[in-house]
Subunit: 469 residues, 2 copies
Amino acid sequence: MTYRYQQLEKWILQGIRDQRWPPGERLPSIRELCEYKQLSKATVMHALQRLEAQGILEARPKSGYYVTHPANTPSVSSRIAPPRPVTVSDLLLDIMQRSAAFDLLPMLNAGDLPVAMVSLNRCIGRALRRQKGSAHQYYDQPAGDAELRKQLALHAARRGWSTGRDQLCITSGCQHALFLALMACCEPGDVIAVEAPGFYGVLQLLQQLGLKAVEVPTTIDSGMDPEALEQVLTKWKVRACVLSPAFSTPSGALMPEQSRRRILELASRHDMAVIEDDIYADTGFTETPPPIKALDTEERVILCSSFSKSLSRDLRLGWISGARWHERIQHLKLVTQLASSRYLQQGVAEFMADGGYASHLRRQRSVLSARRDQLMRELSRWPHVQSFSRPAGGLASWVEFSPDVDVLAMYHQALKQGVVLTPGPLFSVSGQYRNCLRISFAHPWDEKRLEALAKVPQLIRHAKAGPIL
Amino acid sequence: MTYRYQQLEKWILQGIRDQRWPPGERLPSIRELCEYKQLSKATVMHALQRLEAQGILEARPKSGYYVTHPANTPSVSSRIAPPRPVTVSDLLLDIMQRSAAFDLLPMLNAGDLPVAMVSLNRCIGRALRRQKGSAHQYYDQPAGDAELRKQLALHAARRGWSTGRDQLCITSGCQHALFLALMACCEPGDVIAVEAPGFYGVLQLLQQLGLKAVEVPTTIDSGMDPEALEQVLTKWKVRACVLSPAFSTPSGALMPEQSRRRILELASRHDMAVIEDDIYADTGFTETPPPIKALDTEERVILCSSFSKSLSRDLRLGWISGARWHERIQHLKLVTQLASSRYLQQGVAEFMADGGYASHLRRQRSVLSARRDQLMRELSRWPHVQSFSRPAGGLASWVEFSPDVDVLAMYHQALKQGVVLTPGPLFSVSGQYRNCLRISFAHPWDEKRLEALAKVPQLIRHAKAGPIL
């Protein structure tokens, strides 16, 4: 299904590509477009504003909409749209809720459980059997189990981040940690800088908390661009910046140390909180890099993480280190959920203390790296690909097709064939990335998954050949 | 520690009791009080406003503060204070966070686990061992495990509430459900009607969400007074009413069917949401009464509950039935926490399907009823008690002492002796109930607990004899 504004958007884009309106040219007026295409003013405005947000058009007061310079070489500044309330369209919401959790195929529940999960489950089982007396009649302390926090602090120290158990609070996963972080340091209406492309879960949180997003461009190998962030901070008062410096989704970029230091300098100068989504750090193929939090001398970096990407999504255990907001965060956890399961935390703490987590990570690193290599070989044979990321960690690659490939059309076509794709526009609030896909290598390339992958090139060709209004 | 405004409050109360200012009399002016007691204007105002909130004083514009009619026979209307933002004092916050989870004694982790917990833990262990393939690499659906929701719907049917699994969403406990309910149907600044005395977890939620509380008086045997609620609704636009009709904390009151129907009529007439905290329902000594939700024909009752009071506080599993807000609630759960543990839900579902939960409740009902009886015998021998509740379910009784017993002083004195009390002011936003205590019978009356209980009469005598400024 295509909305009228989307049809108009496509038509204008095609006209720009065909040089009907070359760079610098004024577009027909809103009234002219309404009459010519038989559309309402609201529909025409909607399409023009979306193109403006993508940096393709530029509004000049009392004059009209002009074509900016070619979309393939925009300067960073022309790509930054002003802060806006987040409104996730129903279509994208539907994709997020029903399919974004899957990659290529719906869940299959067969085969053997990995050895790490077997020993983790044994630890959890032992913790359950160790329950005595009326311990189950008491809530755990809001900060979480002290032994688990100790193990997490030890794990942090091994990657160059020196922290203590008192600086950690256990949460129900990383999304819960991000929620607590935003709730603690922002007020409705505040402007939050986010990565573009960036994690859709953050965008939905901003929407629910009434926060505005300003999208900061990232590159597929080094993450958020500090120069672009600086331009944003010069223009707008930004309360917090959410970023994922280690193997961020969708591209798997790893932010270099120089950029990290630069971002902390900017945060200090503009009194901005930094919310670090650290969830992919332990998926690094050679090591777990240190977090930005390790460089934080001003108590302004809130680190959020969980076991979901590195061990199990079904544990629902994460953690947060809340810097100057830590006490408020712990209180918010208490108020919104009281506590986490004590037995579960004890089981995971035992698994870590036994070395189970560290040896799991050692095995996992080479497994993931091999899965990435196999995906890279496939991607290099796909048609109409302009670029794709080759991450050193994480669980996915970001593929950019030529601008006329429409991945939303492709998504629907793929679903009919039982293949689940993750379309680019999920990763933005401004409808960008209609020619991009995230492709995951989180799962083994078994026969069924390879079959699904083999269907994609034909889907790309079809999406490119699709009718343009 | 007593603050200056509290000292002044006590002094004025004493003067009222001594008939220095009889009912209808004007109090000295603010300036006079400042000079006479050598206090700042802010301190004097603070004390006067607190006494006004308690219905002891009445402010008449351009005239001053007047003593209302005697506090022991107030009409309902004089006891209702206007809606106010909730500010929990640091002292109460501290009590809530550190001690309110305990009753009489800190946690003891010894002795045998109850038989129901052993079989529940076996079910959870089996669910862990049944995990296959890469199921742990997928988040559960936001609504929660279908089999657990089916078991909850069957349990609901047995108590006269006909519901379906699609109307239930699994949460991380009842507090999490209450949070989702308030987040879904209210906006900051909205007025929420709450029980007085009522659950402090709700008051803290209102504070964090920027909601205003209006306290509706309850009675110790039948809960929220519908007549008082009607007066409130006539005066103020109330967005939602949070109430716990079955064995509410602190008194254990059970709301009669007539009051339930009356409250639903009022909700309908004033377009108000009803948030039903159902957490104690399964602790009923003879049966689990039906919820108000069973009478809801307009999709305006949100039911919140969990296993914390009836089975285990460490499971962190609750549920919500969100009426017309259900879809939004499910989305909020997704956005703030993604999902709940699938294996855990499967384990609990198996425990319920095996009949383990039903037989646990059967045993538990008579155990709790005997524990209540033993507490009642003790309470009837305590000094300076004016009344106490004799609930037919729940885990506590509400004890009201003569007005000159100060339970906050008693709380501090008790802590020094290793006894943990739950003081009355925890259950109100207006500093009421300084002469009330909640006493729990959640735990077995073992020797240590009986020893702690035996210390209370002396503590009461001491708190009554305490110096009054």
